[in-house]
């Protein structure tokens, strides 16, 4: 395997101001336009006890607000708007939700500063993703 840039590693960071500790199945809202990916992704998320309750192909903050899930899993590479702006909007809509950005692009730090609890790389395998999500979800609020 070729070496990856540092940002490519799956990283999880829990921010104390909006990261309650989660236990058991967490109702999750997924923004992912690649529909053929959704069943497999849902299985992987289930491994981290994230129960997918709604999947949408495009970002709709009002729909997110109305759905008020415990967690958001967002493929930030397909958004029509800047990924960090999108995360900020989601954070504003759901201040206490667990937000996970899934990306192949650069800018993990921007996404975390925008309010993502966890930034996962698309280069990561299922086990790595599940492990990072479990760690981030179980980390107590600081």
């Amino acid at each position: 395997m070729p070496s990856r840039p540092v940002w490519h590693r799956t990283q999880a960071l829990v921010r104390g101001d909006h990261a309650p500790r989660y236990a058991g199945n967490v109702d999750s809202y997924v923004v992912e336009p690649q529909s053929l990916f959704v069943p497999y992704l849902s299985d992987v998320l289930a491994g981290a006890e994230l129960r997918v309750v709604r999947v949408v192909p495009t970002l709709d903050v009002e729909d997110i607000r109305a759905s008020h899930p415990d967690a958001l899993f967002v493929d930030t590479d397909f958004l029509d708007v800047d990924a960090a702006d999108a995360v900020s909007a989601m954070r504003e809509a759901l201040p206490r939700a667990f937000i996970c950005a899934y990306t192949d692009g650069e800018g993990a730090d921007r996404l975390r500063f925008a309010g993502a609890n966890c930034v996962l790389s698309k280069r990561s395998g299922a086990r790595e993703i599940t492990s990072a999500l479990r760690t981030a979800l179980s980390t107590p609020a600081g």
Partner: protein, 221 residues
Amino acid sequence: MLATTITPAPSSTKPVRVLVVEGQALFAKALCQVLAADVELEVVGDADSVANAQLRRLRPDLIVLDLDGHHVEFSEAMRTIRELAPQAKVCVLSTHIQPEVMQRCLSAGADGYVVKDILPAELIRAVKSVASGHAYVDPRVAGGVLKRRSNGFGRTAQNELSVRETEIIRLIARGMSNKEISAKLHLSEKTVKNHISRIFAKLNITARTQAAVHAIKTGLA
């Protein structure tokens, strides 16, 4: 009147050997799952790049090739495939719906072009179509090609940008620096600079702003 019973002929054809080359680990597994569910397709493996795909050993009939996750120029990946698996058809998977990107893939030797938000059933249809020797292009992208033709766009092949150059000019149009582009595409800054020099030469321009304007005018950005 005699009833006619049509009995399907027993299938004597071997399943199509499909190799998935996709940089996104989870998406690759999802693709394999979708393709393997069809009895006429046999997924013989998956890899994160053409270089790691063991083409000679796996002898795929068809390669589903991710356009976006490559560390090398697409045309270089195609050359490797043609050298190591000349029998394989190539169906490109891409996030781009720009006709220019699709045209460059087909020019580089791809047999099909699908966009990643394709539905599973349509992906199966696309893969089978390409495997049987037909071309398949996402209808949205094909529509864009026809529109461009009717608008009289088009440049000589000599001046056409490669897939990588097209990616880079799109990122220039988004205002990204060479450093940011190199990080996004996993290339060295020197390689990015070389690509940009070639873009400038092909388009007969001297500044990034001109490149950005070109990208916007031609629908790349």
